[in-house]
Amino acid sequence: MATPVIMPRQGQSVESCIIGKWHKQAGDVVKAGDLLFTYETDKATFDEASKVDGTLLAVFFAEGDDVPCLMNVCVIGEPGESFAEFNPNGAETAAAAPEVSPSVPSPVSDEPAKGSAETVAAPAGDLPGAISPRARNLAEKAGADLRFALSSGPNGRVIERDVLELIASGKLATSAAGKGYDAQLTGTGIGGRVSVADIEKGIVSAETASPSLPAASSPAVSGPESYTEKHSNIRKVIARSMQASLSQMAQLTLNTTFDASDVLALRSKFKKAGEAGLKAEQGFTLAENVPTINDIILYAASRVLLHHPACNAHYDEEKMTYFNHVHMGVAVDTPRGLMVPTVFNTDLMSLSTLSVEAKAAINACKTGAINPDALRGGTFTVTNLGTMGIESFTPVINPPQTCILGVDTITTRVREVNGELKGYPAMGLSLTFDHRALDGAPAAKFLKELVKALENFSLLLMQ
């Protein structure tokens, strides 16, 4: 009996996934554990391995196809076995499977034709890192320059729809122009394509290429005035979420600072212990994996939040939902934009566990491998601009949460100690709260307790 392989459901929010790459072709012998295909959600890439031994009898979808979750993607069985009944497209198209050839060489690399782009000049701009074969083929056919493509696929991958948008927006080069030109060039060829003349003249824009007429009084501009980029999906999500936040909430920000001497002393103690050779296996995990200041703030906030339920809550028009545990949102700047993974139950974690978990979530976001479900469910968020020297800002709440804590940079402040002025490292905290959910005083109380916890962090850690 042949075994179908389905498109797995990656998280409850994912309806369908795009097949990124086939590692096996119809007819290949596969063993349990062999990589069958790679598939992608909007935000992450996953590998699907075979669970059985056998022969890959049929492949129902090609690279770049968007396949609903739980649908049959391919069939493994014994050669000669019937598989038509597994074909979600109907029996008649099952024979199309052999067309899927994951390693189709692109026409250009295949055939170093005279006059092809590669023999003319080296590309003068950067090609996007990952390009789906389908997108590459389409771009080759249409003469679209992939350097202008958005990479809306997972891991910053350029997928077919990016190329379709690119073609629609007219960023094309003529066949003879190829791709060996400066990405700044504005096409003046047919249909707005970059032409050989554009390359040779190095025209930067059609406007500046015009004969200089006397009335033109504006100073000479050497580059294009502007350029446009369509929004990536992640940008659209951020835009919607941020606008909803600012337009629908009554948010305001409280700023304070805390004396970071204890936190800094503790970190340097961990570091020194690590340098002295104390190992995790001996029980000194903090010495081997020194937590960041951000980890320390996440830890302190996770503890303090339990005393301030209104700050660890969701607000909607009807009700407040208070959480008994803290699911910490950690704002991460990724090459594709802001992402906020959630580290669940941080109030139950030790500092070292929290540090490891937060680091893993941040890395998963940066590489695009984050599970979509890990991007939801936060009850409180910490965002850190302190590493960029920001002294105070107004973070924007991630709805339906009620608070977001901004972490600012450390500045030196002076205070009077026994009639003497002494400097101390003051780290800023900016708490934005939703005044619909809670009033100023309770928010300030949370902040005050957080300051106390951080100023006495060694004691907090011992509890």
């Binding site: 003319v120 003879a176 003046t188 050989v196 003349a197 290429a209 033109a216």
Partner: protein, 455 residues
């Protein structure tokens, strides 16, 4: 208040009006003479009706080599001219109809620019003053009439003509001197030679057909010489009158050519005076309005298209320039390109070319490779042209492997050249062109042949 006012109803003007009206702009088109301009009324189109009559007559007279003989073939010049008038009339009304369909208002009379205030341009036509947010100047060009002794008198007594008068000539002159061996001159030389005039072409340069590839223009000249046209190159006309044209040769000798009629076709001059350009400060250099790649002049909202900008005095250049200007007005990105501008001589044989010539490549320092092939590589050409000696020449960019120029001398060249223009405009590589299917048997296949003959 109009969105757009167009001065001049020739190809540039009526195309601008048609496109702008079609895009929903309110448009006023002002024409001082006849809608259709020089092209339709006294240029491109009427000359084609004459040349077709000549072609038929030529076939009738010289059909023996195809096994066809006819007796008493005659050309009726009056009938030729009246048919020409009918064709022109039909086409003019066709253009008026199209303009009306695109909701363009037509105003007949001389439009004079009064001024520009707060971005609004005002133009007077007679006693009426019209205002518009944008102005397209498409006032065209006129034949250059040189100050040669006898020319003024000749024009008033009808023995000296420009393109305008010669296309209304109802008698066939015994002898015709064509001053200027460019496109207009050669087409008229071809016509009157076929219908029986003794034709002499006097040209100041050492070659005919202006910017055409020299190898082809030389071959065309040979074809004409065989048919009985006399060419005097490197010669300068010094006087006209008393049934002859006097000219000096390169070595300084003075000679005469018999001339019942004389055609002046030494060139055309942009019409940039007499309608108030100076009122709004439009920059004019050597009589031509200076424009950029969008057709804009130095005055915001004022555009110039067609012969008046002097870039490329061809009706189809004006069409495209008009579209670029209107697109710019509409805020659509567009720019004018000239590298694939086709040129056609509707002579017998026809000559057509697009892109670079060998001469222009050398002048501009463009690297090229060439392939020249007899047109007889096309089966249809051979079937239809007994003793035909036409050629194709293609020029190829060896680095980019694209077509730089294509030059044709032979039947249907005028109709075929557009395909080469598309290859040049879209910058197809030679390997791409090889994948194009040409209908067989056609003369157009000569392009494919030449491409495959190129190594």
């Amino acid at each position: 208040m109009y969105d757009l006012l167009v001065l001049g109803g020739g190809p540039g003007g009526y195309m601008a009006a048609e496109r702008a009206g079609g895009a929903g702009l309110s448009v006023l088109l002002v024409e001082k003479n006849k809608i259709g301009g020089v092209c339709l009324n006294e240029g491109c189109v009427p000359s084609k009706t004459l040349l077709n009559s000549a072609k038929i007559y030529d076939h009738a007279c010289h059909g023996e080599k195809y096994g066809v003989t006819s007796e008493n073939a005659k050309i009726d010049q009056e009938a030729v001219i009246s048919r020409k008038n009918k064709v022109v009339k039909n086409l003019v009304s066709g253009i008026k109809y199209t303009l009306k369909n695109n909701k363009v208002t037509i105003k007949e009379g001389l439009g004079v620019i009064l001024g520009r205030e707060n971005g609004i341009i005002s133009v007077a036509v007679g006693d009426e003053v019209y205002e518009a947010k944008n102005l397209v100047i498409a006032t065209g060009s006129e034949a250059v009439v040189p100050p040669i002794p006898g020319v003024k008198e000749g024009i008033s007594d009808g023995t000296v003509m420009t393109n305008r008068e010669i296309l209304d000539l109802t008698t066939i002159p015994e002898s015709l001197v064509v001053v200027g061996g460019g496109v207009i001159g050669l087409e008229m030389a071809s016509y009157f030679n076929t219908v029986g005039s003794k034709v002499t072409v006097i040209e100041m340069l050492d070659h005919i057909a202006g910017p055409a590839d020299r190898e082809l223009s030389t071959l065309l000249q040979k074809n004409f010489a065989k048919k009985g046209i006399t060419f005097n190159l490197n010669c300068k006309v010094t006087a006209v009158g008393s049934g002859q044209v006097t000219y000096t040769t390169a070595d300084g000798q003075t000679q005469n050519a018999a001339a019942t009629k004389t055609l002046l076709s030494i060139g055309r001059r942009a019409v940039s005076q007499g309608f108030g350009l100076e009122k709004i400060g439009v920059l004019v250099e050597r009589g031509r309005i200076v424009t950029d790649a969008q057709g804009r002049t130095n005055v915001p909202g004022v555009y110039a298209v067609g012969d008046v900008n002097g870039v490329w005095m061809l009706a189809h250049a004006a069409y495209r320039e008009a579209e670029v200007a209107v697109n710019t007005i509409l805020g659509k990105k567009d720019n004018m390109r000239y590298q694939a501008m086709p040129s056609v001589l509707y002579t017998n044989p026809e000559m057509a070319f697009v892109g670079e010539t060998e001469e222009s490549c050398i002048e501009k320092g463009i690297k090229y490779e060439k392939t020249v092939l007899p047109m007889n590589f096309s089966g249809r050409y051979m079937a239809e042209n007994e003793g035909g000696d036409g050629i194709i020449k293609i020029l190829i960019d060896p680095d980019r492997q694209r077509l730089l120029g294509c030059h044709l001398l032979g039947t249907y060249a005028s109709e075929i050249i557009v395909s080469a223009g598309m290859m040049i405009e879209s910058e197809m590589r030679i390997e791409d062109i090889k994948e194009i299917i040409f209908p067989h048997p056609t003369v157009s296949e000569i392009i494919r042949e030449a491409i495959f003959h190129h190594n």
